[in-house]
Subunit: 354 residues, 4 copies
C-alpha cells in the first residue's frame, strides 16, 4: 500500500539507505518502448549524492541494475525489476544517534508506529529512497517523450531569495539547478552560508509540464492536480504545493483569476494561465505549472535539544555527510513524480479514447 | 477510479447538480457505531446552499436518505448507501451557457475529454458533488470522535485580508466561518464588496486535527500529508495546500524549522510545531495543521471573454445564484475530506497494532 | 473494499434485501455509449423474483432508477448512480429466525464477524444483492456489444441430471434457462420434486464468451481466468469454477489436453479448446468457456438441526418464498459478472494498444 | 496491476525464467515478526527445480537475497525487497522455439498482446515466477503461525488415479507430495509412465487451512472464497477450483449439503463441512478446504502440430528439462497463495476488531 504509486503505471519500491540495496518494480509499462539506459543513467546522475557542490560530499554511483522486463533493448510489457546497490554505507556515522531522536526527522514517529526502527540513516524515510523514484520517472519520461510531453523543474527560491527575471530554458545547471537570473549568485551564497554556519536552508521548486494533452485527469477524487499533489507531497522534505497562481489566486478577484479565452479558429487560446493548466481536475492542454515548498534539511551539525528513545533529555549535533540544501537534488525527484503521474493518467485516458 | 476515495474506509460518489439525485456508498465502515442522524444533518446544513448570507441564495434542503448498512441505529459493518435528491434544479438558468465555455470552469476540459457534456451546472465538476463528501465526512467524524480526534477548519484569510489575533475555538460562526479577530468585519466586507461588483473573491482556510494518535500514515507513497493533500486538492476550488509552516518553512534555517524536543518524562514535548504534526509522512501525535488556498468562485456576472464549443469568440456573464465567496461553505468540505483521510489511516494502523 | 468490483470499470454496490433500497455506482464507464434502458430492464427481468415458475413466488419489479451519468440517452463518462427500491419486503417472514442461525447461510459467520446482524433476509449475503450486479452487467454488455463480444450462460446440469446432445443457441428459455436437450424435462422435474419435498437442488451453469478479442488479461496476478474466478466465486451460492476442460483436464495427458494449432494463413486455428480460450491468463481469441458449480438453495422448509445466537440447540424450518432451485436466476448473474470482468479488461487492454 | 497481489499485505513480483533474476517486494508486512530464514529456505526448497525425482532434472538453488525491511532478524514494518538470481539459464534450449508457438503455452497470446515476446522459457508465464510466490507465502506463514493458522496442501489425484483411504498428516513426502494411501504407488507410476512416453499428466491438489479464525472475508465482492479462487487461479497450470463439496455439492439436496449445527455450549459444532469453512464468503472457523485442478504440463517431447509466429504450419517437440508432472512442485505454490490470502484478510479483519 505505502510502497506502490500509480493506477495503471505502478512503481513499487523497497530499500533503506543502509541496507544491501534499494530497488523496485515498475508494472503496467507499455511494450515496445526503447529503454535508453544512458538517459536513465543521466537522470540518476542528477539526483545522486555528490552531484552538486552544494550537497553532501558522500558519493554513490547509483547505478541501477535492470533485472527483467526488457528484451533486446525494448520493454516487453511485463514488470521491470531493478535494484540499486548501496555502496557508500557508513553505518558507523549513525551509531551516535541510535537511541536519539533527530529533530525534524521521522525517528520518533517511526518508533511510535512500528516499535522497531532501523537507526542507520533514517530507514525508509531516508532521502535515499528517492533514487527509485528517479529511476521510475526516467522510464515515465521515455514514454511521455513519445507523446511530446516534457517535465522540467528548477529552483526558483533558495533560502528566501527569489529568482528574478529569468527564462525557462531547462535543464538548469549545477550547482543549484536554478534558472539563470540576477539573484542566482545570492541564492547560491545562501546555501554556502548555511553550510558554513552548520545549518541548512530550504526553498521553492517550480515544475512545468509542457506539450500537454487535454483531457488527462478524472473528475472528483481522481483529479490530476490531486494526483500530482499526492505524488509530490510524498517526497520527504516537501511541505506545500500550489498550482498555477496558487496561494496568490486566493487573493485575486474572480475576474482576475479566471483565464479568459480567445481562439485562432482551430483551438482555444487562453489569455492567462492562472489555472496552471488544470481545470476541474482535468488538463486543459496548457502548460501545467506548480510550485513546491521544500523545507531546510533537518540534519544539521548545529546543536539542538532533543530526547532519547527512553525519554531522557539530551542534545544532538548531526554530523555526517549531509546536504546543507537539498533543493538541486530534489529537482529530478519532483520531475520524476510528476512524470509518473502524467504517464499514468495518459494510459488511463487512452483506455477511454474514442 | 475517479469516484472512489480511501483504502479501507471508502467513499464512492455519483451525481450532477442538475440530475435526479447525488449519492454514494460508504464501504469499510466499522460495525456497531451509533449513527447520529442529527449530527449528519447538522454537518450537511453547514455546507448547504443558503447556509450563509455571503453565499448563493439558492436553497436546498440537502437531506440525505440512508438506504442500507444501518440497523436499529447502529452501523452493521456493511456498505452504507445514501442519496440526496436535487430539489432546486433550475436547468433554465443554464440554457444560455449550453454551448459557451465559462472561464475558470471545467467546461472546455470536459468537452475535450469526453466529447459530451452535461451543461446543466457543471455536471460532475459542480460544487454540488461536495454534499456527498460532507455526508461521508460526518460518518468519519462519528468514528474519530470515539478515538478522541477532532477535525475543525476555519477561514483565516478572505479576499487578501488575513485574520489577526484570534483564538482557535471552533466551530466558527456564520456568515464567514472565520475565528473572531480584529479583521473579521473587513474580511466580511470584502465578500460583500465582491458581490456588489458582480465579482468574487477567494481566501485561505486552515484545518486543525486535534487529539491525534501518533503513528498514522505510511512511509514513502502512503504518507499522511500526501494522502491529505490528495484529499483536499480533489475539492474543486482548491489551488494549494501547505502543512505546518509550509511555504514559510522554505524560508527558514534548519535550526529554526526543526521542532526541538523536551520531555515531561512520560511523553515527548515538542517546542514548536513547524512540522504540522507529521514527520516522514507519519503523525507525531501533535496537532495536524494545514492551510488551503481557495480560488475565487469562477461564476461571476461580470462580462468575460470566452469561446463557444464551436470555437467562436463571444463574451459571457454568468448569472444565476452563485456564491461570491465559497469559503464558508468550503470549510465543512475540507473538514470532511480530512476526517475521511484520518479515519481511513486509523483503520489501517489498527490492522498493524501490536 | 468488499463492495467494489473492477479496476477501470468499477461497480460499487450497497443494499440489503429488506432495507429501503439496493443500488450502486458504476464508475469508469466510457462516454458516448447509448444506454438502452429497455435492454437493462430485460436483463433485470431475467433475474427478478417471479421470473421462473421454478423459483420463488415472491415478485419484485426490480426497476432500477438511474440517477446520474446519462445525458440525452448517452453515457457522459462520469459515474452512474442507480437505486432499486425494495417493494416486496415482508420482514415478518423473518421474525421467527431472528435469533436462529440458518444452516448453509452466513448468519453465524456475520454474527461472529460484526457482532451485529440485520436478520431480515440475510442482509448483504442475501441473493437480492445480485440485482445490482445484473444492472452493472447490462451496462457492461452494452459496451461489449460494440466490440462484437457476447456473454451467455445456461444451465447444463440440474439436480445431478446433465444436459445431453444440445446446441448452444442462447438465450435459453424459462423455466430452467437450459438448452433444449433430451434430459430437459427430467432436469425440470428434479426441481419440481425438490420443491414438493420441501427441499432444494443445485446444478452446473456453463458460460461462453464469444467474439473474443485476443490479448485480454494480464500476466501473473492479473490473469483473465483468475479475474473471472474472483468475479463468479463472489456470487453467493457458487462453490466451484473450471475453465475449458477444467477438472477433466487434470485427467488428460499433455498430448491430449494441449490445443494443437493449424492456420488458414491469416490466423491461428486451434484444433480443440481445452484451454477454454485462455492461456497464461491471456485470452487467445477462442471462445472463453467456464462452468460453475451452484449449491442447492440453503433455505428449505425441511426441518434441520441448528443453534440460536445464544448457543442453544434448536431446529429450524425455513418458510417463506424461497427458490427450490436458484439456477435459472443465477444464469444472468453469472453473465453479468463475466461481462463486467471482460469489459474491465477490454478497457485495460485499450490503454496499451499500440 | 498484474504483478501485485493483496490489499493490505501485498506481494509485487518481477522476473522471467531466463533474465538476470526474479524478485519482488512485500509491502504491508507487520513489524516485529522474527524472520526465520531457515524456514523460508525450506519452503523454497519444496518448490525448486530438482526437488522431486518426478520433476525437471534442472536444478536451481533458488536462494532469495533479502535486501530490505529486516533489522536484527525482525521485520521493521517497511517493504521487504528480495531477489532470486537465475543460475541455471540455458537459453540455447529455447533457440529452436524462438519463432514457434508451443501448444498449451501462452506464446501466441503474449505475442498478440504485446507484439514482442521474450522467447526464453516463457517469460512472465514461466512457472519460474512462482518462486516469488513461495517466498511471499513463507513470510505469510510466519505471520499466520503466530495466530495458530496452518496451510497445507497435498496431491490427492495424479493422472486420473485418486488417493484412497488416507490420513491428512502433512507435510507430505517426496516424490509426489501426496498423502500415504493405497493408490500411492499407482499415482507415482502414472507420472513415471508419462515421462517414459515423452508426455505429461496433471492431477488434483487439496488444500486445507486449519486453526482458522471466524470472520475473515468480506461480503459481496470481497468474499474469502473469491479471493482464494483469484489467488489460486492465478497460478499457471490451474484450470479449476472448488470449495468444500464443490462440484459434488451441485448434485446434493439442500438438506444434505447444509451443514447442520449442534453446540457444546461454548461454540457451534458443525455436523459436516460441505461448505469448506466459508459461508457467505466469510470464514466460519471450520477448516477451509478446497481442491485445485492442475492441467498436464504443456511442454512435452511428443510431436505436436503448431504454427510459427509468421503463421506457417509446423510441428514441435519441446525438449529441455521439463516436468512430466508439475503437481509436487505446485503444492507449495498453492499453499503460498492461500497463506498470502488468509494473512491479508487477517490484517483486514484486525482493522475492524471491536
Amino acid at each position: 500500500m505505502s510502497s506502490t504509486f500509480g493506477k495503471l503505471l505502478k512503481l513499487t519500491t523497497f530499500g533503506e539507505s543502509h541496507g544491501a540495496a534499494l530497488g523496485g518494480v515498475i508494472d503496467g509499462y507499455p511494450a515496445g518502448i526503447a529503454i535508453d539506459e544512458d538517459f536513465i543513467a543521466s537522470e540518476m546522475a542528477r539526483r545522486r549524492p555528490g552531484s552538486t557542490s552544494l550537497g553532501t560530499k558522500r558519493s554513490e554511483a547509483d547505478s541501477p541494475e535492470i533485472l527483467s522486463g526488457i528484451y533486446n533493448g525494448l520493454s516487453t510489457g511485463t514488470s521491470i525489476g531493478f535494484i540499486i546497490r548501496n555502496t557508500s554505507q557508513r553505518s558507523s556515522d549513525y551509531s551516535a544517534i541510535e537511541h536519539v531522536y533527530r529533530p525534524g526527522h521521522a525517528d520518533a514517529a517511526y518508533d511510535m508506529k512500528y516499535g522497531i526502527r532501523d537507526p542507520r540513516g533514517g530507514g525508509r524515510s531516508s532521502g535515499r529512497e528517492t533514487a527509485c523514484r528517479v529511476f521510475g520517472g526516467a522510464l515515465a519520461k521515455l514514454l511521455l517523450t513519445r507523446h511530446g510531453i516534457r517535465v522540467d523543474a528548477g529552483v526558483i527560491e533558495c533560502g528566501g531569495i527569489r529568482a528574478e527575471d529569468y527564462e525557462w530554458n531547462p535543464p538548469f545547471p549545477a550547482p543549484l539547478a536554478a534558472p539563470d537570473n540576477r539573484n542566482l549568485s545570492a541564492m547560491i551564497k545562501a546555501a554556502e552560508d548555511a553550510r558554513n554556519e552548520s545549518d541548512s536552508i530550504g526553498g521553492i521548486i517550480e515544475c512545468r509540464i509542457t506539450g500537454m494533452i487535454p483531457g488527462l485527469g478524472e473528475p472528483v477524487f481522481g483529479k490530476l492536480d490531486a494526483a500530482l499533489a499526492h505524488a509530490v507531497m510524498s517526497i520527504g522534505a516537501v511541505k506545500g504545493i500550489e498550482f498555477g497562481s496558487g496561494f496568490s489566486a486566493s487573493r485575486m478577484k474572480g475576474s482576475e483569476n479566471n483565464d479568459q479565452m480567445r481562439t485562432d479558429g482551430s483551438r482555444i487560446i487562453y489569455l492567462s494561465n492562472n489555472a496552471g493548466g488544470i481545470l476541474g481536475g482535468i488538463s486543459t492542454g496548457e502548460d501545467i505549472i506548480f510550485r513546491v515548498a521544500v523545507k531546510p534539511t533537518p540534519s544539521i551539525a548545529k546543536e539542538q535539544l532533543t530526547v532519547t528513545d527512553s525519554l531522557e533529555e539530551t542534545t544532538i549535533s548531526v554530523h555526517g555527510r549531509h546536504d546543507p540544501v537539498i533543493l538541486p537534488r530534489a529537482v529530478p525527484v519532483i520531475e520524476a513524480m510528476a512524470a509518473l503521474t502524467i504517464a499514468d493518467h495518459l494510459l488511463i485516458a487512452r483506455a477511454y479514447e474514442r
